[in-house]
């Protein structure tokens, strides 16, 4: 709809005897805007702006040929086992499973006062150091690479807890992600997702029946 307006014949602007025609060019952009708006709407609806977040995990190898030497043993004093059971419930116990005392398995929750509080307390040393490091990074005293390197050193240092995550079949994927998330929040460097074993089944049953199974053992 481009239109060329010529002023001749209007008489209004006629000035003297200049014979050259004054041509003003006016292009109507309305259809162009219409089309652009349509395209923008299309792009807004059909695309996703942000790339999804991911969590990187490495699982232990399933290889049966691994020798005992390659397997990493966890010190009982540093081990914390998270037991993810159905119905969004989570339990934990420290060290070796204690079959005699049903109270060794503790009921916890996924919110801030649950396993997070416990893990932060257990990992207080590393958490404090990481906080320090973060502050240093914010003050631009160290670079990103140094930060990553030092952070992973702190997380893997001696004395930090090792968390073993065990989920049963009734736990959901969200539970697993929540548990992994806590590892990140609490700066736990070493954690592993392990297979559910009979000892967890026993502990859970024992907990739910308030120690009747361990009484059976005692007899």
């Amino acid at each position: 709809m481009a239109e060329i307006q010529s002023n001749e014949g209007g008489g209004k602007h006629k000035k003297g005897g200049s014979k050259q025609k004054k041509i003003s060019v006016f292009v109507d952009f309305t259809p162009m805007v219409d089309m652009n708006m349509l395209l923008i709407t299309f792009f807004m609806l059909c695309t996703s702006l942000s790339k999804p977040q991911t969590m990187e995990i490495s699982m232990p190898s399933n290889d049966k040929n691994i020798t005992k030497q390659d397997q990493s043993e966890v010190k009982a004093s540093q081990a914390i086992t998270l037991v993810l059971a159905g119905g969004d419930s989570v339990f934990y116990y420290t060290g070796q499973p204690d079959y005699k005392n049903f109270n060794s398995l503790k009921l916890s929750s996924y919110d801030a006062n649950g396993i997070r509080a416990f893990l932060l307390k257990r990992n207080a040393d590393a958490v404090a150091k990481i906080e320090d490091l973060k502050q240093k990074k914010l003050d631009r005293k160290i670079t990103q690479e140094e930060f990553t390197k030092q952070a992973s050193e702190i997380k893997k240092a001696k004395g930090t807890p090792t968390v073993i995550i065990k989920a049963n079949d009734r736990a959901t994927y969200k539970n697993l992600i929540d548990a992994l998330d806590e590892m990140q929040i609490c700066d736990v460097g070493t954690y592993v997702i392990d297979k559910w074993s009979s000892s967890e089944t026993f502990l859970l049953k024992n907990f739910r029946t308030r120690g009747s199974l361990s009484n059976n053992i005692a007899k």
Binding site: T54, E56, I57, S58, L120, Q184
Partner: protein
């Protein structure tokens, strides 16, 4: 009373500036966005505080719906064709070039190999409808999922596995998927999550 003379003004608005703005916006959207892949099932991913972004290329994404149905998608069409040919060879099914061509254009696939030929013969609208009823078999007797993954890695060894599962998916399903992957010595994956703004309260 004399009438107030209203000056006749043309109502034409200059749209040039508006056009400038829209073109700018359009350019922005075209450059920053990535297209949403059509997924056969609705999946709500759980939230996490992790801030790692997914890598751009060489992604093999595994989509798991709440009922445990498994679908796969790959970002390179060449790899998809190679994978299908290999999986077909493993199960004694050969595909015609036309079928391969159709398979190449699928955004997500997840059909038992014996139904693949029938599925590829369908029109694409029908494919979308029926795909949600299928899913790659993952049970221990007929673990086609494992074969798919194995062949995908033969086609492209630099693939990264991204698992996208619904938050209500039972752990049992996730476990069987992870065990299959571990059997193939694939031990590193990305779990796709949504962003959660939460920091440790200390």
């Amino acid at each position: 009373m004399s009438k107030v003379k209203v000056a006749r003004k043309s109502t034409r608005i200059d749209m040039t500036a508006m056009s400038d703005v829209t073109v700018l916006l359009l350019t922005f959207f075209m450059l920053t966005s990535t297209f949403v892949k059509k997924e056969p099932v609705q999946v709500t991913t759980p939230a996490s505080v992790s801030e790692i972004k997914i890598p751009e290329t060489n992604i093999l994404s595994i989509l798991i719906d709440p009922k445990g149905k498994v679908f796969m998608s790959m970002d390179k069409q060449g790899d998809m064709v190679e994978t299908l040919t290999k999986v077909g060879a493993d199960y004694g099914v050969t595909f015609t070039p036309a079928e391969l061509q159709k398979f190449k254009l699928l955004p997500t696939f997840g059909v038992p190999i014996k139904d693949m030929k029938a599925f590829l013969a369908l029109k694409s609208e029908q494919q979308d409808k029926v795909l949600a009823n299928y899913g790659i078999p993952t049970d221990s007797i007929d673990n086609q999922f494992k074969v798919w993954i194995k062949d995908a890695f033969v086609a492209n060894s630099e693939l990264r596995i991204a698992i996208k599962a619904d938050q209500k998916t039972p752990y049992k399903v996730i476990k069987s998927i992870m065990t299959s992957l571990q059997d193939l010595r694939q031990n590193r994956y990305n779990l796709i999550t949504a962003l959660k703004n939460e920091t440790a309260k200390k």
